[in-house]
Structures are given as structure tokens and as C-alpha cells.
Amino acid sequence: MQIRRSRLLAGLAAVAAATLVLTGCAGGGSGTKSDTLTYTDNVPKDKVTLQVWSFLPGNYEGGAEAYDKVIAAFNEKYPQVTIKLTDMPYSTYWDQLRNSGVSRSGPDVVTMYGGAQAYSYRNSLFPMQNAMSPEVKKDLRYIDENYSKDGNLYMLPVGAYGYAFLVNQSLFEKAGLDAQKSLATWDGMLQACTTFKEKGIPAIASGWQDGIQLETLLYMISSQLMDTETLAKWTKGELPFNDPLFHTVIDRVLEMNKAGCFGGEEALGKAMYNDAFDQFDAGKAALSLGGGLDRAENDFKSIPSLTVIPMPQAPESKHENLIDAGADAGWAVTKWTKSPEAANAFVNFLAGPEAQQILWDTVHVVPNNNGVDVQLTTPMQKVYIPLIMNPENHTGFSSFSLELLAVVERNAGPLISGKMSVDQFFEQANRAYEKNN
């Protein structure tokens, strides 16, 4: 009996010790430190090494060399700062960043998307709204829409993309259509889809299995339907996903499907979104959803009749010629960096005109800094860049939360193929939206 009692006491002592350990850990994890970053020109003269994580250099042919040039230019100004840039594959980048955030260690500067994605990493990142140099603030585009719903800007947006149709004009001719005329209006686009279907030519290269295509269409059409005020509400988390605006977007996507824009029932759900790029590159589809100049330049090599035309405005559009366009990505400073001043100086340099000029000149990363001198030389640059630079453009891309996007991605195939009703889709999507708000 005595032995049992002593074991019981020992057990209780162990539980108490474990509780103490846990409570101690809990205290450690509940940091309430006020974390702000303010711009200063005075980077300490002490030698410092910054670890930088990014997936951007690998996105461009010759990207690593281009970023080396950017770092060299930065070091001319700040020779005391050594930059160690790690180019990481996109597929594992975010997991590693999450691990880094939980362990509170790792890189000093990271590539980051704005809005909802940055908010998801908010405990790891310094708010940057007061950390921008006056020169950068003056010339940088897409700042407002990259704020998170808590009123903080966790990254400085850098680079630019714009979603438009990459158009294989030869296939339009083959179908007896004029691409410019067909894509001038929404109804014209639907009519073209129907014609392509009748001729046995896939209209838009499609891959619905991973849902990225629905996501892309969601950005493209919802941006048209948002005026500046609505976009501001969406950015602040004040526009629910069950707003009629998003129902209209989904209705328009389903309308496109009905018109045969994405191929027949056979094609649905089979391919991944990236497979659709191959389909288009092989000249097997008339249109592709394109977001970046680099892809257009590449496709132009295999499709000489390639051009870029905006998706026509949906009937409910609040704009004349808008395309969904915004920052390519951005850069952020982590809260555990030992040298916030140096890290911030590097981020400001990346967003500034000098770095963006180097990237434009070497690998044609479209700049979002008005101080960059953009000379258009190639055919794709001449048709695409003016579309991306259109001041009417904006995007609500950043404010789609990760969980909402996951619902969109996983239900895209079932929704398009009719296995899931629109109501079921919105029921799940709203739940995800509300969880984030």
C-alpha cells in the first residue's frame, strides 16, 4: 500500500513538473513585445551578415546572376553588410518559412506576398509601413492593396504581373475568327469559345485538377467587379466572401464553362494548371491565362503568332480596360533578425529604382517602381508592358486568405464539373473566410 502511495505521489510530482514546464514554455511563447521598424539612413558600421531566403532568382533564366548584380550594387552603398542569398524551390519555400517562424530563427530577409498571406506570417515579420524610405514610398506602386487586414504592411511589393490572355492568333484564323474583335466583349469571347468547341479546338488551355485555374479566374474577374472603394473594403476584411460580387464571379466562370471555353467534360479535372501551359505551348489551345512577361516571351519562341489581349470586361465590370495586375511578390524583414536596420536597408534597396532597373535590364522583371527607365524592345514587351502598366489596374489577389484559397483549389474540379453545387461551394468558402476574419 505504501509503495502504491509513493508511486502515486511520484506520478503527481511528474505531472506537476510537466505542468510547470509547459506553463514556462507558454510564457516564453506569448511575446507581447512591441515590434516596429522605422526607416533610418544610418545602418550601423559594424560588419553584419544577412541571410536572405527567396524563390525569385530561380523564377528567371539567369536570375541568380541578376540578383548577384543587385547584391553587388547594394554592397557599394553598404560594404559592411554581407548578403547570403539562398534560392529555394517554391514548392518547399513556405513550409520552411513556417518552420522558421515557429522556431524563431533563420533568415533575416524573406520573399513574401502581401495582404492575407503576410498576415498569416505576421508573428514573424516586422510591419513595414514606417520603414519605407521616402524615395521608395514616392515611386512604388501596389502598396495599398498589399496591406493586411490589421492595418499593417508586412512587405514591400516588388515587381509586377498582369493577367491577360496569351493568344494564338493562328488558331483564331483557323477557326475563322479575329482575335481582337472576338475578345473585345464578354459575349464575343463566349461566342468564340462556342465556335472553337464546334471546330474541335480547345479554347482556353485548362487544368482544373489543382484548382489554380479557378483561383486565377477569380482574381481576374473579381478585380473587374471591384471599384476602388470595394477593393479597400476587401483589403480591410470588410467585404465577406458571400457578397453577391463573388457569386457573380463564379456565375461568370460557369458561364464560360457552359460556352465551352475550358474544353468538354472529358478535359475537366484531368490536368494540373501547369499542364495547361504545355498544352498551349504545343499549339493545342487558342488561349492561355498568362500572368508574366517571362512566359509570354518564352511562348513567343514556339508560337510566332502569339499576342497578348486583355480578358474582356464582364458585364458587371466597373472598369473600361482593367486587367488584374499587382506586385509580383515582395520582401519582408523577420522579427528575429539581429540587424533590423541592415535588413530594412536591403529591402528598401530591392524595392528602389536601382535594383529594379538591374532586374529589368538583365532578366526583364517588370518593375513596380516609377523611377525605372523601361525601354520596350521585344514584340511581347511592346504588347504586354502597356497592359501591365495601365494605371486603371488593381488586384484583390493579396486579400484572399490561404484557407479560402485552399477551399477554392480543392473544390474547383467538382464545381466546374457540376459535382458540387454553387451553394455547397460558397458554404465551404464562407466558413473558411469567416475563420480568417
Binding site: 510537466a18 514546464v21 509547459l22 514554455c25 507558454a26 511563447g29 506569448s30 511575446g31 507581447t32 513556405w94 513550409d95 513556417r98 518552420n99 517562424g101 515557429v102 524563431r104 498569416s120 506570417y121 505576421r122 508573428n123 514573424s124 485538377q209 489543382d210 479535372g269 484531368k270 490536368a271 522579427k335 486568405s401 490561404l402 484557407e403 485552399a406 480543392r410 473544390n411 474540379g413 467538382p414 459535382k419 458540387m420 465551404q428 466558413r431 475563420k435
Partner: protein, 320 residues
């Protein structure tokens, strides 16, 4: 005298079965004394540090809006309510139990093959090696391979179309009706060799004369299998079953992640995949913690049921 000598000879020189040696008393807790305690202490410490404290920590954190590096506020059982009111969660639990439908196949298939290989079949060692090969391959690599094989325009569908079985060609991994059965078959393929190995080693301990006697009595293949082989290696079978069940709850991640990413929709997602998504992708740390606790409790329950079944079977055996 002669009879005594014969009996002694039969027993052999080393046979001391007449003597009752005390058996080690490790049963019933730490009855081995301080020396035994000292020996197992490092393992206990390691288990506590690596397993139990993190587990307790996760359980504790499941009652918070957990924000690593930020302010974590207690939220009672909100994470659990959130979890249990999500239809997605129940869909995934349903998937998990659907995968358990593969259990009879995962057990019986390697059992039959190991029974067939127990005799001196020509090349039985070769076959065992071939069967075991998938077990030493990374599930991620195997899953990638099968993703290519099973794609809509992949070799399997091409083969089916080539032999005029067009109606059987499907989008195996993107069709809600086929994706789970396909995964069950792949798990069978991957675990088959290990099962054969375990059952073969268990069968090798069964006295051959039992089978020989049965054969003399006219018992056929299935009779030997069901009435001699299976009862003789019952413990190994139950152990394998428990292992398979736990694997379904714990080790499906790499398959699902590489093959389907849980899709289409959530129709092939497992709980570990959902935990990964909540934690790594969305940053819902508290929800992921609650889900981890539920998963651990489910596994404990299932393992407990397995233990109970083993005891019942052993009890019946002893009674017989």
C-alpha cells in the same frame, strides 16, 4: 536400469527439464529491481523528453489561439468545437475509416503468399526479395511513379485502351469514386513484402509435422491454411493488423501528399494531411494542435481495441 538409461539418453546430456529454474520476474511492472530500472531509465527519459512532453505541450496548446512568437490567448475548447463542427473534418475521418476497409486485403494477401512460400518452393528466396523491394523504397518516390502511371493519359490507361478496355480507362487519381480504392491498392503493394516477411518468419516456427499429419488425414490447401497456419501464427496476424491500422492513421501522409494532395476536393485526405495543412499552410496552430490530440486519442483507442482482441484470442486459446 536399461529403461532409465534410454530415457536419459533420449533427453540428452544437457536436458535438465526435471529442475525448476526460477524464471526472470519482469512481469507485473518493474519487478526486476534497481538494476533493471537503471537499464530502462535512459529509454524512459528519452521517451518522456521526445514524445510525452511535446505531446502534453501540444495538448495544452490546443486550448489556445496559439500564435508562436505572438500573443497566444486561451480559448477554452473553441479549437475542438471548431474542429467538430467542420463537415470537412468529418469527411476526412470518414476517409480514414474507408481506408481501413483495405485491412482484410492487407492482411490476407501477404498471409496467403507467405503460406505458399513456406515450403521449399523453387526460388522462394527470390520471390521474398522481390516482394520486399517496395518496402525499402521511399513512399514519395513510389507515389510519384504511380502518379505518372495512373495519370489520365498515362501508361495504365493507354494499355487499357490498347486492349479495347476503353471503358475501364479513368482519371484514377482525380475521380472521387476511384481515388481511395486506388490508394488502398498502392498501400497493399507497398506493405505487401513486409507482411510476407513477418508471416514467413512466424510460419517457420510452426512445427512441420502438423502440416504433414494434416495432409495424411487428407486436409487440403485451404484446410491447412485456415485450421493450422492461421491459428498457429495468430499473434503475428493480430500484430500485423494493429500495425496496419496504426499506419493508416499515421503514415499515409507521403502517399496522399504526393499522389493527390488530398483531392479531388478532400476525398482522399487523411487526418495527418489536414494537420499539416492547418499548421504549415494556414498557420492555424491551435486547430492543428486540437486535431493532433484527436488523432492521438483515435490511435490509442484503436490500439486499445487491438490489444483487447489479442487478449480475448489468447484467453480463448488458453481455455482450449
Amino acid at each position: 536400469m536399461t529403461a532409465t538409461t534410454t530415457a536419459t539418453d533420449r533427453r540428452g546430456r544437457g536436458d535438465r527439464s526435471g529442475e525448476r529454474r526460477p524464471r526472470p520476474r519482469f512481469r507485473g511492472g518493474l519487478g526486476g529491481g534497481p538494476a533493471a530500472m537503471l537499464l530502462i531509465l535512459p529509454v524512459i527519459v528519452l521517451e518522456v523528453l521526445v514524445l510525452f512532453i511535446p505531446l502534453l505541450y501540444i495538448a495544452y496548446r490546443s486550448f489556445f489561439d496559439w500564435q508562436p512568437g505572438g500573443e497566444s490567448t486561451p480559448n477554452g475548447v473553441d479549437n475542438y468545437i471548431d474542429l467538430f463542427t467542420q463537415s470537412e473534418f468529418w469527411q476526412v475521418v470518414g476517409n480514414q475509416f474507408f481506408y481501413l476497409l483495405g485491412l482484410p486485403v492487407w492482411v490476407i494477401a501477404p498471409l496467403i503468399v507467405s503460406f505458399m512460400l513456406r515450403e521449399k518452393v523453387a526460388g522462394s528466396g527470390f520471390f521474398r526479395s522481390v516482394y520486399f523491394l517496395p518496402a525499402v523504397m521511399s513512399p514519395a518516390v513510389v507515389a510519384l511513379l504511380f502518379r505518372a502511371l495512373l495519370s489520365a493519359d498515362g501508361p495504365i490507361n493507354s494499355m487499357l485502351r490498347g486492349v479495347g478496355l476503353d471503358f475501364l480507362a479513368k482519371s484514377w487519381l482525380s475521380d472521387e469514386t476511384t481515388v481511395k480504392p486506388v490508394i488502398i491498392i498502392l498501400v497493399l503493394w507497398a506493405g505487401f513484402g513486409t507482411g510476407v516477411l513477418i508471416f514467413s518468419s512466424a510460419l517457420s516456427a510452426v512445427p512441420k509435422h502438423l502440416f504433414e499429419a494434416a495432409r495424411l488425414d487428407g486436409v487440403g490447401f485451404w484446410g491447412e491454411f485456415w485450421h493450422i497456419a492461421v491459428p498457429s501464427i495468430r499473434n503475428a496476424v493480430v500484430l500485423w493488423m494493429i500495425f496496419q491500422v496504426i499506419s493508416i492513421f499515421l503514415f499515409m501522409f507521403s502517399w496522399v501528399y504526393v499522389l493527390t494532395r488530398g483531392g479531388p476536393g478532400l476525398s482522399s485526405a487523411t487526418m495527418d494531411f489536414l494537420i499539416y495543412q492547418q499548421f504549415m499552410k494556414f498557420g492555424f496552430y491551435g486547430t492543428a494542435a486540437a486535431q493532433s490530440v484527436v488523432l492521438v486519442l483515435l490511435i490509442i483507442t484503436v490500439a486499445g481495441i487491438g490489444g483487447l482482441v489479442t487478449r480475448l484470442l489468447n484467453g480463448k486459446k488458453a481455455a482450449a
